[in-house]
Amino acid sequence: MNREDLMFSEKIGRRRFIKRVSSALLGIATVPIWKAGHASEKIEKTPVLEYRPLGKTGLKVTTVSMGVMNCSDPAVLLRAFDLGINFYDTADCYMNGRNEEMVGKAFERKRQRVFIQTKVHDHDEKKMRASVERSLRRLRTDYIDVLVWHDHSKPDEVSDPRLFEFMSKMKKEGKIRFSGFSAHSRMASLLREAAKSNLHDVALVSYNFTHAKDLKEAVALAAQSGIGIVAMKTQSGGYKKEKMGGLNPHQAALKYVLRDQNVSAAVPGVTTIGQIEECAAVMGAPLSKNNFSELEQYYSFLRGKICTMCGGCLGECPYGVFRSDLLRAVMYHEGYENESLVRESLLRITRQDLERCSECPSCSVICKRGIDMKAQVRVAQQLMVQSSKSIVGS
């Protein structure tokens, strides 16, 4: 009998068991099943812990770490700690600071045994300093292990000497140990820039099985330069089992990311004890054939649904049409419903570009996420016509 069969028979047994006791009242139910639990029933699964160095920092972090962002119950953090997870990612702005407070309270007496990463936004020095002080107070600690700039999106931000100077001061004052940046878009170009600048200890980047080879190469380059790579958005959309017809590809998605030895740790965002247990069980486990098939199904599920502005389509058009502006214009139209932003984006595309697009019998630009590029161009063309009409009208 294989494992699945065993699980099935256990479920049937449980159903029968429930049926036998279903005489429980609808109102205040009398549940006649409360026999005392026996110690022998305790099945405590401890994951095999897998550690990797976090770049040049010298910290040894568990490959499966925890993204605390949407979690509101300290029980989940404490469970993660008991499972051996030692790296936790939060931010000053999550839940208006409440997220940091929960982390601080949960780990106050365990501070030496965990690494905490939090974030700061780009402001003037006074505001950034105040933000760090607030984070320290909420985290109930006198040092932050890793402080990252929240959400860089341009290469010049990554090598901004002003920001680096601030981080150096924080390090000298003992308020932080290491610094880095986070990025949700254009990750590949930012990582390449970071690898050149040598200013960062850590990079927190979106990285999952849907991303292009280009990002994988940039991750390798940055890791080789000594930057500790922390992967977020590893599940590519979070826990939505019910929307995927029962498919549960999250372990497979996590394994896929951790298969890349250039990744130091992944910080999947979890909100329940069950989820963190599921994630922790991935440590040390290989990506199986079944996992690949799950990822294929998951990919089909996600395919064509979202443009992540990954930049993978740039430069692939033989006529040099700027696809990111084009996609952005469509996104502003469909998502933001903001026509002034649409017009702004369209200014960077010439009518001739779009006309050249129409001349092509088939589009050579292929979106890795399966977005129909031709359809996007058609929408952009319509937008351009509308935009010029409104300009003439005004």
């Binding site: 609808l26 205040i28 639990g37 949407n70």
Partner: protein
């Protein structure tokens, strides 16, 4: 004869259309465009709108708040609008406003309850929280968050009140809030989770409130806290299944003990959770009611009994319970 019949039908159709229009008018009278909630002509004197209003949908919210968008999606996010105001005197003085339209007042309360920090009521919306840098409130199905990079409580209050006045959604706060006794309740601690109540997937959605145990001579930060919770399920069977899962979980990771409450002799699941402390759970129709983290058994029982009395079953459920009770009494 036929003409009379047609007239009769026509009257009915007209009546139907009129009633429908009235219902629609009632429902839509407070469904205003989200952008209109952003102050424009009525901006406080000395301030001006410098950015927005910028609308975000499910497709684009990520651009505004990155991964935190996931939290809003869990609470039925529909769309949001963002704007920035600036003081004419001091350009550093700015107010960022985000207004989120959620599916219902329950969802708006839920997301508000995950963000608010302690109880610092600001006196606007259905419930609010105000400090030097931020103001949060919910009203109807809207959750509003204002942020001031420079401390400015007064202007945060002004903008909040202004926005609150523009919201005409008359929905009342979720009735479940009233089930939580105020005796010992930590102010501003009631939260609504759309999933993962107490960190457990099997508990699904529900409310929790934190209480402070009254014991003399204890320092403020040493006071023992416990929680009352109310998990809500589709029906009694699902609640019963979850109770079974709870028992399984306790027996695997903590301790289970049987027992009944002294006064009512209602059977309860009793045990100890490694992270929440002592646990007592009871089912009431489609609800699981419980208490976690208490110290004395007797106090816990009393608290739970009081909670059980306060929790009212949904109308359909209470009917089912009554009919079952009368059937049982006949047996």
């Amino acid at each position: 004869m036929r003409g009379r019949k047609v007239m009769f039908h026509r009257r009915w159709i007209i009546l139907f259309i009129l009633t429908g229009s009235l219902v629609w008018f009632e429902a839509s009278s407070w469904a205003m465009p989200l952008e209109s909630l952003i102050p424009k002509k009525d901006i406080p004197r000395g301030w001006s709108l410098i950015h927005g209003p910028q609308t975000y949908t499910r497709k684009t919210l990520f651009e505004r708040i990155n991964g935190q968008a996931e939290l809003y999606f869990k609470y039925g996010f529909r769309k949001s609008v963002f704007a920035v105001f600036q003081s004419k005197e001091n350009r550093e003085d700015q107010i960022e406003v985000d207004i989120y339209e959620m599916e219902s007042v329950l969802q708006a309360f839920g997301v508000f309850s995950r963000f608010r920090n302690e109880d610092r009521p600001g006196g606007f919306g259905l419930e609010s929280s105000l400090d030097d840098h931020s103001a949060l409130f919910y009203q109807g199905r809207y959750f509003v968050i204002l942020y001031a990079p420079e401390p400015n409580q007064e202007i945060l209050r002004k903008f909040s009140k202004l926005i609150s006045l523009k919201i005409s959604d008359p929905s009342l706060p979720p009735r479940e809030i009233g089930y939580f006794s105020e005796n010992g309740l930590k102010a501003g601690s009631i939260q609504y989770f759309s999933e993962g109540l107490l960190g457990h997937q099997f508990l699904g959605r529900g409310f929790q409130g934190t209480y402070v145990e009254k014991a003399g001579g204890q320092a403020e930060d040493e006071k023992k806290e416990f929680k009352l919770f109310l998990a809500i399920f589709q029906n009694s069977q699902k609640a019963n299944d979850a109770l079974k899962d709870f028992k399984d979980d306790l027996s695997k990771k903590g301790k289970v003990s049987s027992g009944s409450m002294a006064e009512s002799e209602t059977r309860v699941l009793k045990g100890e959770d490694p992270y929440q402390g002592k646990v007592m759970v009871v089912q009431k129709g489609p609800y699981l009611l419980g208490i976690v983290g208490f110290e004395k058994e007797e106090d816990g029982e009393n608290r739970l009994a009081e909670f059980m009395k306060k929790v009212k079953l949904p109308a359909a459920q209470s009917g089912a319970v009554r009919s079952r009770a009368s059937r049982d009494s006949r047996l």
